[in-house]
């Protein structure tokens, strides 16, 4: 009898823990779906970017365009005579190259994953994606321009800004964009 009672208790515990899990899943369904969308979009886009054909067909031409257009803006701002060779921009005292991680594409991928994860209408998601692309690219232009001026001032300052500060500014502003877009879309619903 005792054994049977213990068995019953165990089965009751298992049922109650299953019910608890189910309740937790129901309560957090929106959040879990958002995390799943975020992870799937992030990993999917990252894998596409890692393909050799994407690198040669999209990323490299985009880096060349970024270097060319940054040099153009710097010339307009009085940055002196600049030489552009592929992805590298060089002046009389300083030069930099727009490498693979410097084009803002990875930050854009994360913001895209963030927008896709938001529980909003698809039309709002599409508008959000377009706005996100314009926003991150504008931020990246500001980043490249400021890095140019920092590089001319001091190599140490350039390294600090390049490796630590700007990276996080872009992440934080990207997350702030996702938050703003979600609040805006939720209010207009």
């Amino acid at each position: 009898m005792k054994t049977r009672r213990v068995h019953r208790n165990r089965s009751y515990n298992r049922d109650s823990s299953n019910a608890k899990t189910r309740k937790w899943m129901t309560h957090n369904r929106a959040l879990l779906t958002a995390y799943l969308w975020f992870g799937a979009t992030l990993l999917g886009l990252f894998t596409v970017l890692m393909l050799s054909s994407t690198y040669h067909g999209v990323v490299m031409p985009f880096n060349n365009f970024l270097a060319w257009s940054t040099a153009g803006v710097l010339t307009l701002l009085g940055g002196g005579p600049l030489t552009v060779n592929g992805t590298s921009v060089s002046g009389t005292t300083f030069g930099f190259s727009v490498a693979e991680g410097c084009n803002g594409i990875y930050a854009l991928v994360i913001v895209i994953a963030g927008v896709m994860a938001l529980p909003i209408r698809w039309s709002r998601k599409v508008v959000g994606l377009i706005l996100a692309a314009v926003y991150i690219m504008a931020l990246n232009y500001i980043r490249l321009l400021t890095l140019w001026y920092f590089g001319q001032t001091s190599p140490l300052l350039f390294d600090t800004m390049h490796l630590y500060v700007w990276e996080f500014i872009i992440i934080a502003l990207g997350a702030a964009f996702c938050y703003w877009w979600y609040e805006k879309s939720a209010r207009s619903r």
Partner: protein
């Protein structure tokens, strides 16, 4: 200040983050050599535990770099082994610790006590555990480079572990480009975003027979 609207709270957190980040980073530069030595010792122990056929790599700190020494026994002669060194700067592995510390300092005031303790205790454990994973992934990728180097010298050498190397390379790149810089922010979103977000939190459906009156009927 806790009654501020969510956007104002977020703006304040970003400003506080910007103010606290530089002193925390400077402090971290002083602690980095000790942390790197500890991390390399742990990563090497992990390598000895997880590699069932005997460890084929070791992690050491040389100067400002983690050096992963991958080695492989050459066929035919057991005592003869081929080794290859791969370096990864210590500051690039662990620069997310000051980012986490600055985020924690900047947002601590706005968090509930339970959330605050979670972010202060669990998040650094996850970050440190990920650093060990980082070095392990890097070592797995180093083996690929070792095999390529060996293949260049001895084209007849074949190692069937090569078939999984695309995965380690993919994981290494994912870690370097996305997980490393974004880990503190992802953890912040996981642990702390709720107090800052109006609607992304719980979605509580009205139970069918609970007697609760749906909002539109009130």
């Amino acid at each position: 200040m806790k009654n501020l609207r969510a956007p104002a709270k977020i703006a304040l957190v970003i400003v506080l983050f910007a103010v606290t980040y530089v002193p925390i980073e400077l402090l971290w530069q002083r602690l980095l050599p000790t942390y790197s030595r500890l991390l390399s010792a742990v990563a090497e122990s992990v390598a000895n535990v997880i590699e069932t056929r005997g460890s084929w790599y070791g992690v050491q700190v040389k100067g400002d770099d983690f050096v992963v020494e991958a080695y492989i026994a050459l066929p035919g002669n057991r005592s003869n082994q081929y080794s290859f060194d791969c370096t990864r700067p210590t500051n690039l592995v662990s620069y997310n610790i000051p980012l986490w510390a600055a985020l924690a300092t900047a947002s601590a005031y706005f968090l509930k006590r339970k959330t605050r303790w979670k972010f202060l205790l669990l998040a650094p454990l996850i970050i440190v555990a990920w650093h060990v994973c980082d070095l392990t992934i890097f070592a797995k990728n180093a083996r690929w480079m070792l095999l390529q180097d060996l293949h260049r010298q001895n084209p007849h050498f074949v190692d069937y572990n090569v078939k999984w190397q695309w995965f380690w390379w993919w994981l290494f790149e994912l870690n370097r480009r996305i997980i490393d810089p974004f880990l503190p922010l992802l953890l912040w979103i996981l642990f702390c975003a709720r107090p800052f977000s109006a609607g992304l939190g719980r979605q509580t459906p009205t139970p069918a027979h609970s007697g609760a009156v749906p909002a539109y009927r009130k």
